[in-house]
Amino acid sequence: MNTSIHNDLSKIVGPDRVTDKQELLEQFSSNQEDDRTHPSLIVWPSSAEDVSQIVELANTKFFSLIPISSGVPRMSGTSTPKVKGTVILDLGRMNRIIRVDSKNKVAMVEPGVTFSQFLPELRKAGLRPLMPLMPKASQSVLTSCLDREPTTIPRFHWDASDPLLCTETIFGTGEMLRTGSASGPGSLEEQWASGQAQKNPMGPSQFDPFRLVQGSQGTIGIVTWITVKCEVAPEVHRVYLAGSETLESLQKFNYALLKRRLADEHFVLNARCLSAMLGVDTSDSLPVWTLVVGLSGHGPLAQEEFDYRLGDTNDIASETGVFLETTIGSITGDAVHSLLNTPSTEPYWKLTPYGGCREVYFTSTLDMIPSLYDIFLEEAEAAGIGRSRIGAYVQPTVQGVNTNCYFDIFYNPKVEEDIINMEKLVAAGTEQLMDAGAFFSRPPVTIRESVYSRSSPEVLNAMNRVKRIFDPNNVLSPGNLCFEEVFK
């Protein structure tokens, strides 16, 4: 069966764009003993047309596909096959930045475009990205958007879906739809001629297919380009810091500031996380928590804008007992500034302290985070990981309505016991966090069962109905989300 699929795929993409080389296949496999986790082939399409034909082939020959766009390291387990004979659809070679439109503050990118490739192009156009905190350099811009990864500037984050706008999607049926205003009327060229820039993510019409593809971990459709919101690059931009022993003492300030849409970057890190980010081993001398607040100004009154934002922010700070500074100990706001709106250097910063890192991330509200953090630290101690190895990153999102939180477990992947303890912590910690009100809105494969066991049968049933509409043969990423594997 393998050879015939191999031949069919070669016919679609050309023989040099399909491989069954073991050393390449192995990087996707999580467990050498379990042959279900071995992909059978990797294929590199070069166009949406290729993708559509491959998906159609998967439907007739009954093999499953896992789309991937980013390079290593792969941390979520989403791209590990769960059924035999899986074909990896590597979109990394579709890496064109199709369009950067500074007037309309938008870019159109293919799946293989990484942050390191994207940012210089934006800069040239006078734009800045809305992007996560220090992603790995090989991170695809498109998958970051599809995964609803939190971005660092809450005031530009209007909806949980931001900064994702329109998409071109090939569903599991092989059908192609452009979502949002990109669907039409008219071709993209006609839309450009009428002044459009694929800015409205909603629709077409009376449904929002982009919301079904986003967060679906490759189970609904394969996205061949997206448009992504950008902002005008500021002329003045500075970062301020505030140290604190507790998260609670920052609460009033955070809430008041978020409401006003004054700040750019706005998040809180614990000492473990901040020192890993900065690549320094000074976590002892850092405050327990560091608040990061970026302020900026742009346009004809850039400096005046900055001054007003700073003035009002400082007023809020003094009313709420917070003191913003440009330096805390040996850490400067400028040093933190240099890490914003840029990808991590190699190796990925989360891997530098101990070689390994497992992220536990969820959505909640700011007032909930202190107790959730305490719970997780206690579990860390119980699991033998130790409190000092837990990084925390608290990122307000949706203009302050909710908060995305990452608890990073730093561990040594070469030490068996460390791995066992880490996994113990993930399992127990996740349950404890959920009991205490954390919402795992983007559950990685490793915890999907415990998360979806808390969803009602009605919601699961609805999700399955959606799946049957867009991927009736379950060819896309089986075993992700709440959908079961097939072809066992």
Partner: protein
């Protein structure tokens, strides 16, 4: 006709007092603004009466709604829900259907002033919700339809621009979560609620079921009943000690304008300057409102009577107005206010504009500030005739809106010349931006005479022509591309999206009982 058994089953659910089939009452549900246009577009005699429902039922809990929907499934009776019920899309479309009137579900369930969301039931009105939220220094996005309409209806089911859109966005983007009685009678709660008991997000785990329920336009009641909505909130820019103070009497009210508020009308000579300034102002996220109309429209917005408006128009406004947009600066602090005013003036100068208020051509009074925040300005459109409706509606960029305004002008003028719609020289439009200028939409409010057959038919023809232009020249999808026939007319140039919508309808409404007239039916009715 529905049968007695069905009726008595419903009566068992809500009690005798909360159900009726008295014709006089049923007729009040069949009388709606806009029916005269829908009937004309179908090729029928224009009529303000639509289909009379066979019964009206008034549930008071989600469980009652669920039971009603299940009974409808059992008896294969179609239903149409509505919240405050304004417009032809709120009524039933076929004989033998019932109306689910949600007016008894009128609670503000929860306000979370820190985490900036509120949970409301269907019959909470924008005005009630504002009254509650102002106490916390907060506001919500209220659709432009006015203070008496339902934020739940708008957020869950129906389009959603408003006068404060530059500051508060679009209804569909502000929906955090919802409680939904699907057409098969299942109750679904989207997002965080069923995992945490809190409504702070409607997305996940996994993909977001918001993708099924609403889209850009909303399902217009064609996909079940929403019984709760969690809605995002925004800071209300007024000093802490400010209170809602109104004095005087109709039409000359006085209102205590919050300290750092200011209306400016930026008037430019050419579209090019207008467009650049509109982009730049929107990008800076400094205004509560940014909108355009004609000079007639401007006069209507900021006067209180028809006579007063006419005096203003011919007192110089008509001659002076070129390409303008109105902004409302609403700042929290003096510093914010000073920066914003200076920025607006700087941009105005850069593109050689002037402020029509400062120049004395129009003088908004304090009550007009209140009407802005209350979304009552739209109602002023009724002043020149008893009816208005909008054509176009496509939403993407400012540049598209500006082009569309120019493309529309000669088309509208043609119908003005025929004498079937109000004369604004084809200049009357309504546009607003969203989310720091990331999006804009343009619609063309048009007044007609709802009592005149000729005028209704004429307006309907104008709307059809606009729809055709948008389709052929790629100006986005207009607001009222709903229902089988119209969806199919748009399908070939929009990647055949109706086929997916039909699959959703089939999957979630297997018996086809949630009125599909303004949504889609699972089977392609327009081909039958």
């Amino acid at each position: 006709m529905i049968n007695d058994k069905f009726y008595s089953r419903l009566q068992d659910v809500v009690g005798e007092r909360n159900i009726t089939r008295t014709p006089a009452i049923l007729d009040t549900y069949a009388f709606q603004w806009g029916y005269e246009i829908e009937s004309a577009q179908r090729g029928d005699e224009p009529s303000r009466f639509g289909q009379r429902p066979d019964a009206v039922v008034l549930p008071t809990t989600t469980e009652e709604v669920q039971t009603i929907v299940k009974i409808c499934n059992e008896f294969k009776v179609t239903f149409k829900p509505f919240s405050t019920g304004m417009g032809p899309w709120a009524g039933v479309s076929e004989p033998g259907a019932i109306q689910i009137d949600l007016r008894r579900m009128n609670r503000i369930v929860e306000v979370d002033p820190n985490n900036l969301y509120v949970v409301v039931e269907p019959y909470v009105t924008n005005s009630e919700l504002q009254a509650e939220l102002f106490q916390y220094g907060l506001m919500h996005h209220a659709q432009g339809a006015g203070p008496q309409t339902s934020p739940l209806a708008s957020h869950t089911s129906f389009v959603g621009p408003g006068f404060t859109s530059p500051y508060t966005g679009f209804s569909g983007r502000n929906l955090l979560g919802a409680e939904w009685v699907a057409p098969n009678g299942e109750i679904l709660r989207l997002g965080s609620y069923e995992h945490t008991g809190k409504w702070f997000t409607g997305d996940g785990p996994g993909f977001s079921l918001r993708g099924v329920i609403r889209g850009w336009m909303g399902a217009y009641g064609g996909l079940g009943v929403f019984t709760k909505a969690a809605i995002k909130l925004y800071s209300y820019p007024a000093p802490k000690d400010w209170t809602w103070n109104i004095s005087g009497t109709i039409p000359k009210y006085e209102w205590e304008v919050p300290k750092y508020w200011k209306l400016i009308v930026l008037n430019f000579q050419e579209w090019e300057q207008y467009e650049s300034a509109f982009y730049e102002v929107s990008d800076h996220d400094v205004v509560m409102m940014a909108t355009t109309s004609s000079s007639e429209g401007l006069a209507a917005l900021f006067t209180d009577t028809k006579m007063e408006a006419i005096e203003v128009i011919f007192g110089g406004l008509l001659a002076r107005t070129r390409r303008y947009f109105i902004v409302l600066i609403a700042a929290h602090t003096e510093r914010e206010y000073n920066y914003r005013v200076k920025l607006i003036r700087t941009i105005m100068k850069k593109y050689e504009g002037e402020d029509l208020i400062e120049e004395g051509f129009i003088s908004p009074r304090s009550a007009h500030y209140a009407e802005t925040i209350r979304n009552m300005l739209g109602g002023h459109a009724f002043r020149f005739s008893n009816c208005f409706q909008s054509t176009h509606g496509g939403m993407d960029t400012v540049a598209m809106a500006v082009k569309l305004a120019q493309v529309n002008q000669p088309i509208k003028s043609k119908y003005i010349e025929k004498g079937v719609i109000g004369d604004d020289r084809g200049e009357g439009i309504w546009t607003t931006t969203y989310e720091g200028g990331h999006m804009a939409h343009l619609e063309v409010p048009t007044v007609y005479d709802g009592a005149s057959k000729e005028s209704c038919l004429g307006y309907a023809e104008y709307q059809d022509e606009c729809n055709d232009v948008d389709l052929k020249q790629a100006y986005g999808m207009p607001f009222f591309i709903v229902g089988d026939k119209v969806h199919d007319y748009y399908a070939s140039r929009t990647m055949d999206y109706p086929k997916y919508l039909r699959r959703i309808k089939a999957a979630f409404d297997p018996n086809g009982i949630s009125d599909s007239s303004h949504y889609v039916s699972a089977k392609n009715k327009s081909n039958e």
